[in-house]
């Protein structure tokens, strides 16, 4: 902080009026283009940065380079075929995208999800949160100039992707969540493998914390950098770890529990200052809470069906197709036309690793959604970049952008 103030004092000695009277081009504001293809933008984000010396005076994000029209595409697919496309919006939180979309459709269908399916969903959601935060910690450290954390983080991510592969056959974009429950029950051996992961994970998180906490350079680069107030965050629609870092304990898992989150005992980490250090601390503390939730869900996993028993919505079990004519008809209808959803609108928010991920679905009575809209947290959080980096150093701006954790697939959809 003090270095910035020194710089500021130096800057204040030079006023704009003196520049106008001809003090030379060294005091001119410089607008530079940053991106869209730059490694530290975490995707294809373009930024116009207005600089005065080393100080960032303003920043303007230009987005849309990764726009793929997924919302439009989803309107042309039947409800169950839209799940894979909405999963590809925010490509690090695919389970969350599917959860928000399936939740919105289930709300319109008034479909009850069985308890076991809810627990399986919680397990996979929290594993996905761990996976997303692992990538965040690794790339955040990279943007600060630290190389080693990303190797530990990606090794952990690999274990998580192995678990996803085991339960659904896919490592990314798993299409595991279905309307009414999950696609398949967890296979044999999944419990043991998940338990092995949970047993070793906290020690790795401790080590990651040490890599940051015991490094004086990292601490100096994080503390009191890129802070925004709680009110600014709320006004700009910022949610998730960024809002919690400012001290607001808003978390939809606690505030408005969905999918049986109220069955589990966990804490909501909050920060105090709202700077990059708090953002790191909040996300890092969330890792332990996620492990706690998964452990509770695994221990208390109830028996029963893994998907709702509504033949008009859910595919019949495979073995019935050979013996039951009715099951065959249902299967045929569901695969060819899909199920119809009664007219109405719903908005279903879930707490993704980046904040409130809400899915708005409008049904017009046909087998295809008339409108699917994702309220993606990255899209809204990106608006807070300018107040965060204004009047800070250019080098800190890269760190702040990384601390924001924007996923451009979610921003542009």
């Amino acid at each position: 902080m003090s270095t910035v103030s020194d710089y500021r004092r130096h800057e204040e000695s030079v006023t704009y009026s003196s520049e106008l009277s001809g003090s030379g081009e060294s005091h001119e504001l410089l607008t530079i283009n940053f991106g869209p293809v730059h490694p530290s933008t975490h995707g294809v984000l373009r930024l116009y940065a207005t600089l005065e010396g080393e100080i960032v005076r303003d920043i303007q994000p230009v987005i849309g380079y990764l726009h793929t029209g997924i919302e439009k595409t989803a309107e042309d697919k039947s409800y169950w075929k839209a799940i894979p496309v909405v999963e590809r919006m925010d490509y690090l939180s695919y389970y969350f995208n599917a959860m928000a979309y399936c939740g919105a459709v289930e709300q319109l269908l008034e479909l009850e999800v069985p308890k076991r399916a809810q627990y399986l969903r919680v397990i996979h959601l929290e594993l996905d949160r761990l996976m997303s935060h692992m990538i965040w910690i690794g790339t955040f450290a990279l943007d600060l100039g630290a190389i080693s954390p990303i190797f530990y983080c990606f090794r952990q991510r690999e274990l998580l992707l192995d678990l996803f592969e085991m339960s659904s056959g896919q490592r990314m974009h798993t299409r595991y969540f279905q309307v009414g429950g999950v696609a398949e029950d967890i296979p044999q051996g999944f419990r043991q493998k998940l338990q092995q992961y949970l047993d070793q994970a906290p020690a790795v998180f401790d080590m990651l914390a040490d890599l940051f906490e015991n490094n004086e350079i990292v601490l100096q680069r994080l503390r009191n950098v890129g802070a925004i107030s709680q009110q600014t965050a709320l006004d700009l629609g910022v949610t998730g770890p960024l809002l919690r870092a400012t001290g607001n304990p808003w978390d939809l898992r606690k505030a408005a529990p969905y999918s049986s989150y109220d069955d589990f005992d966990f804490k909501i980490p909050v920060g105090t200052v709202g700077d990059n250090y708090d953002r790191f601390r909040v996300r890092h503390a969330e890792l332990y809470e996620s492990v706690k939730i998964i452990q509770q869900a695994l221990d208390g996993l109830p028996d029963g069906p893994y998907i709702a028993d509504d033949r008009k919505v859910v595919l019949p079990p495979r073995h019935e197709l050979a013996t039951s004519m009715e099951a065959l008809i249902h299967h045929f209808k569901l695969v060819t036309e899909g199920f119809r959803v009664p007219e109405g609108e719903s908005y279903y928010p879930v707490e993704s690793p980046r904040g409130e991920l809400g899915c708005f679905v409008r049904a017009d009575g046909s087998a295809k959604p008339a409108r699917v809209h994702m309220r993606d947290p990255s899209f809204h959080n990106l608006q807070a970049l300018a107040p965060m980096v204004r009047d800070g150093y250019l080098a800190d701006f890269i760190a702040t952008l990384a601390a924001l954790d924007p996923i451009i697939g979610g921003v542009d959809r």
Partner: protein, 168 residues
């Protein structure tokens, strides 16, 4: 979510403030919705903000083709104290798709409203920077409207760089 009775109460109080601002309200499968007169959207949003719905989660557009007025602008409001959500919906026609901007009340509406403008062509009066946000600046048409075809746009490759179809 406010329950059906809570929504009725909000609607009643709003009507007492201005009996023409509300055109209807409904509670359907856990989703509370207020339908408002688009000319009075700021008045209603400000009233709801003072009532506790201080967080604007999202602004998004909907096309109700073939129903008129076609376009809907939906504000998802959230009360963080009571954990209530309410959707405020204003319908505008494609002939005069104009509505006042909510940016003066919630700065966070900036990007959302640009997206609605980009995708549906709704013009937000008083928006500080109403430009396309996701589509290219020189793009023509509003792709999320229901009458906009899917996959109709030719993509320029080297094999067709000298024009498409008959122009080739």
């Amino acid at each position: 979510m406010p329950d059906a009775a809570g929504l009725d109460l909000i609607a009643e109080q709003l009507t007492a403030v201005d009996d023409a601002c509300l055109t209807g309200h409904g509670f359907d499968r856990g989703h509370a919705e207020l339908q408002i007169d688009p000319a009075k959207n700021i008045q209603v949003l400000q009233w709801l903000q003072q009532r506790g719905f201080t967080f604007l989660a999202s602004v998004h557009g909907v096309d109700y083709y073939p129903h008129e007025p076609r376009l809907g602008v939906v504000y998802e409001l959230l009360d963080m104290q009571t954990v209530d959500r309410v959707s405020v919906k204003a319908r505008v026609s494609t002939a005069a798709p104009e509505i006042d901007s909510a940016v003066p009340i919630w700065p966070g509406a900036n990007a959302d409203e640009r997206e609605v403008y980009d995708m549906f062509g709704v013009i937000f009066v008083g928006h500080p920077d109403l430009r396309r946000i996701l589509m290219p600046e020189d793009y023509e048409g509003f792709p999320q409207r229901r009458d906009f075809p899917i996959g109709g746009e030719p993509v320029l490759f080297t094999h067709n760089e000298h024009g498409y179809g008959e122009d080739r």
